[in-house]
Symmetry: C2
Subunit: 304 residues, 2 copies
């Protein structure tokens, strides 16, 4: 039984009010894989990189026990590159460079050893690639979580609607929930989106936390109030990785476990933003995670 | 022992995507007083209205057992009037008309029967009026809660800083916390503001809930996700009234009770926005409030 994550592995160059980086390792599958690796030990990635990615960078993943057999290395190819600059509020950013490179022709291949997949995270990608990955699994996973973004709603809405019919959980942000549903109220938006296929919807609200809808219930998780958000890149992917990693660990999908999974995803995301890129996610301890879970408990607990 | 609320009693004319009203009763003290009246039975208002306010409108307050001996009626005067139009997102609004009328010369008088005040809410008003009200009490109340807004930070910052030194709890929204502190991070903003005097700070985030800071702790309360926000006018005042009303009821000020008070304030505010003006706050039952408190519990509870 394994957790398979399909998504980008990339180079990012980042500029925030706290500083800037040269090309560092990023990508949705990288963040999600690292996060999931703290909760579950059979994490397998499907992605594509260029020859420029190199062994040292791949070791960031393998050092955490992540299986990279499904990460195709294209000879002579260049790795997907994204560069962005965050504004002072850290909630908005400008994309400076997007070079798709080998990601442009990404055709996800499932190694035979990945066919034991029971938990599948389809990271933010062209919906057609998400559909292909799902179709190439011999049996439907126990749980499929899909992340997407406004861009695909703009340019590939029909494909997105097709894949939505086949997933169990959708994670998007509040603006995207409003765009996808045409409803401003997030309660109404959730109703519309749950009618599109997913059994559960997670609406990510950045510094305001996340809402989980499903089984006729709602759960609201805060984000941890932080003195400094150093670099928000990858926070959403980290959340998704922690979320599905927790569910793979507890092996049971219901609203109660989903709520805990949201808290674990939020805790890991709160670490992600403390340093540039994946830096903070490379060396967490079990105690680090436990400390933060306790902070979420004390942040939200009341006794009426 | 009583709870005294100083603030405006007003006429509002509102326009929202759901409809519009003629002049209806509004004002910070009105919303706060009605909310508090569901939790505590000795609520006393200090305000000023014109002769146009009339007995029927005053009965909205007295019907809930609220003492209006401190509501001065100015012969021949006109009641404060505000008119506003909400945009589709309900988070932003345009002020169409502001006629201060008798509020322009509001000089708060404390009836002798109000000198038993142990809980004092200074609603959003000129800071000088808040200072005067506080000074005219014979003894310092057990708890002073102050609400204010960005306008007073722009035009009366020094007076505001003076009154902040004398209060226990400040309630403002996130943009105001950032303006008052000069810090974007709400954690850093809270540190700066708590250094200005208050022992506790509540940052109201509208549909994203509220944060409570104090005693070195943080508490995050969500807002109830609602399908329709009919009219947000008065939600913040209702929150403040429910907050202090709960504390007056339990008669003990500490972080544990403050957290519950935030939940009660949020529950009452969630009713406030369901209808125009004070309409929904005029006829709540104990069961209505209990039902909503249970919704907040199920919305936030997880068990890791």
């Amino acid at each position: 039984m394994s957790l398979v994550i399909v998504g980008s592995v990339a180079f990012d160059a980042l500029e925030t009010p706290f500083g800037k980086t040269d090309k560092i390792v990023g990508g949705a599958a990288t963040f999600a894989g690292l996060a999931a690796s703290y909760l579950f030990d059979k994490v397998k990635l499907i992605s594509v990189v260029g020859e420029d990615f190199g062994e040292a960078n791949m070791r960031i993943l393998t050092a955490r026990g992540i299986d990279v057999d499904g990460v195709e290395v294209v000879p002579g190819g260049k790795t997907f590159f994204w560069s962005g600059k965050y504004h002072n509020d850290m909630n908005s950013r400008d994309t400076l460079v997007t070079e798709l490179n080998v990601l442009a022709d990404f055709d996800p291949k499932i190694p035979a050893s990945y066919q034991d997949c029971e938990y599948l995270l389809l990271g933010n990608l062209t919906p057609q690639v998400q559909i292909d990955a799902l179709r190439r699994l011999n049996s439907k996973p126990k749980l499929v979580v899909l992340d997407t973004m406004n861009f695909w709603m703009d340019v590939a809405l029909e494909d997105l609607k097709t894949v939505l019919k086949q997933v169990d959980v959708l994670t998007i942000n509040d603006a995207e929930a409003r765009q996808l549903s045409g409803e401003y109220s997030l309660v109404k938006a959730a109703e519309v989106i749950l009618d599109m296929g997913p059994r559960y919807l997670i609406i990510k609200k950045g510094e305001h936390g996340a809402l989980l809808f499903g089984e006729g219930q709602v759960f609201s998780a805060p984000a941890l109030p932080l003195a400094d958000v150093f670099d928000p890149t990858g926070a959403g992917d980290t959340f998704a990785g922690g979320f599905i990693g927790y569910l793979a660990k507890v092996k049971s999908v219901n609203f109660t476990n989903m709520k805990n999974a949201v808290i674990y995803g939020s805790a890991l995301a709160s670490y992600c933003v403390e340093q540039f890129g994946t830096e903070r996610l490379q060396n967490l301890s079990k105690e680090d995670i436990e400390v933060r879970i306790q902070q979420f408990i004390s942040l939200t607990k009341f006794d009426i």
